[in-house]
Symmetry: C2
Subunit: 336 residues, 2 copies
DNA sequence: TTGAAAGCGCTAACAA
DNA sequence: TTGTTAGCGCTTTCAA
């Protein structure tokens, strides 16, 4: 029923050459005479011929598709990652097979299965955790598995991690430097390793310096969750320093603190985020936060794709504290 | 060099059946005995076999891949569209081949070409305009072409348009109802048809009611461009109503107006946007804007995909004015 | 219900 | 440089 596409045979017939001549014309560095090439190109042009990648990759037994699995594709952090990654892949001649995992909790195994069916040689997991069985299969089939911000307990998977420990330490130290006496950490309930690592590190560093940290745990990672956190965390008026483990949470927190609760930030309470999403720098927020450079993240993925050694590697993305306007400096601290 | 994937023959050999038996086991509604099916499934499981979609679609001559072309994938509006679309496609058994067009101005022809090479039966263009030659080829090959927010001058392409004319009229009327005496419209320089339609409609309606509209045109569609617009537009103190043709521009405008220029919104100047991106409802903005329901947009794409009549259709997405807090109401108007 | 055989569109090895 | 041939992994007649 569907109209068939033009094939190499059609072109060959029209150009009066063999089908291999056509194939060669479209193969980089194959030997074809100019005369034949011209004829083929003319015929192809006239017929609207395009190489069939499906058939092409049938020979190589694998496609140059890269499977990308992710959830919450419209959240600023993921969207930015996907944007940069898809562009970078395209530029190096790989195509992006995008599988939307809906939300962070969904099982991504069926999606990875799908990627297998398309004979992709690489899979990038932006969110969600691949079950161990999948990891095995990737290994068995020579499929490169790259996992972002998820530390799997195995040495056969390429992992890319933002430096959560260092970043969270920077946050704790910044808050302490601003005179923080009682802290809170805000996180979602999705219990991703990244969020857990950030929260735990923060709590530990604060505790080492004798500052107690309240933990608030919401449902999903969203602006609304951050806003809800403010209402409940700031009910304790002694809390003067808050670490929201992602910027999205921080922005919601900030808005609720200021607009719903009438708190001044940073005078009454300091708020620091993590990720440095574009909105964090907007004038209404000027959020002090920890930046994970998106370029470095993308570069790390590409490097992992190229990396062919048996042993997988863990790449850590360096982070920096971006000082903006939501963390109190010592001079502003209220006298004890 | 790359390890070969497990094939149906491998499975057949292990199960002690023919390769066709294997094929049938994985084909919906084929006739296989339970006994054979069991053996095949067991062997497949043991070997980690997966159907090869590439080979599979070679027979059907087309894949169930849907090519999606878009630019600025991390801008909130596009990201949201992509998120919903990719999920919806997945749910109906189609896969999303994502091609990032980098920016709104780039030529998308090579990307569409790539989609052709993957033998997709449908292409969704989120941004950018497919050249006429491509449209012809889609038609010739029975490839469904769906273009969003771009009115091509032809009747053979499915188009999905937000109701820009109605939306912009609503904006103009709202501003007039608030007592607007002198207006401005802010747009990017990317000259997309959507932006042009919004701007022109607005100018026309305002003119019909005797209100003059200044036009400010920036470079790309971004928060920063919106902020730049505020600096230049508000240099004219008589301007008391501003229509930013997308929310992203509006948010930048709002922030610069308030934080850099010390203007009160809506008391000094009303600002209205278009799109209703998530950030528009954030407490720092509470932007009055025109909403295009994302669900309706996605539904329209799916409907267009299913639509098989010769004649393509134009689907218009209804819009509504979302009243929030950035447009002045009459009572607040300064006395004449 | 099953297996043998042909063919989907392409590339690659081989001979000419 | 060219055409012929075989085969990539699968589905689908066609007989059995």
């Amino acid at each position: 029923m569907a109209k068939p596409f033009v094939t190499a045979s059609d072109v060959a017939r029209r150009a009066g050459v063999s089908r291999s001549a056509v194939s060669r014309t479209f193969t980089e560095g194959a030997s074809v005479s100019n005369e034949v090439r011209e004829k083929v190109l003319a015929a192809a042009q006239a017929l609207g011929y395009r190489v069939n990648r499906l058939a092409q990759t049938l020979n190589n037994s694998s496609s140059n598709l890269v499977g990308v699995v992710g959830a919450n594709l419209s959240s600023p952090f993921i969207a930015k990652q996907l944007d940069m990654l898809s562009l970078a892949l395209l530029r190096r001649g790989q195509q992006c097979l995008l599988l939307n995992a809906a939300d962070a909790r969904s099982d991504i195994a069926p999606l990875i299965d799908l990627i297998f069916e398309f004979r992709a040689r690489a899979i990038v997991v932006l969110s969600g955790e691949p079950p161990s069985s999948i990891v095995e299969e990737c290994l068995a089939n020579g499929v490169k598995l790259i996992v972002i911000n998820r530390l799997l307990d195995r040495s056969d998977t390429d992992m890319i991690l933002s430096d959560d420990v260092h970043g969270s330490t920077l946050v704790a130290e910044r808050l302490l430097a601003g005179g923080c006496r009682k802290a809170a950490v805000v996180r979602s309930g999705s219990r991703t390793p990244t969020q857990t690592r950030r929260a735990e590190t923060f709590i530990r560093v604060m505790a080492e310096r004798g500052v107690e940290t309240a933990v608030w745990e919401g449902s999903v990672t969203s602006y609304e969750t951050g806003a809800a956190a403010a209402h409940s965390v700031l009910a304790d008026p002694s809390i003067d320093g808050v670490f929201c483990v992602t910027d999205l949470l921080a922005l919601g927190f900030l808005d609720a603190a200021r607009h719903d609760l009438g708190r001044r930030v940073p005078e009454d309470v300091s708020v620091i985020g993590f990720d440095d999403i574009p909105q964090a720098s907007w004038a209404s927020y000027r959020l002090t936060t920890v930046a994970q450079p998106f370029e470095a993240l993308t570069d790390a993925v590409l490097a992992a794709l190229d990396h062919t050694a048996e042993q997988a590697t863990i790449r850590t993305i360096p982070v920096t504290l971006i000082e903006r306007a939501t963390a109190r400096v010592m001079a502003e601290a209220v006298p004890a």
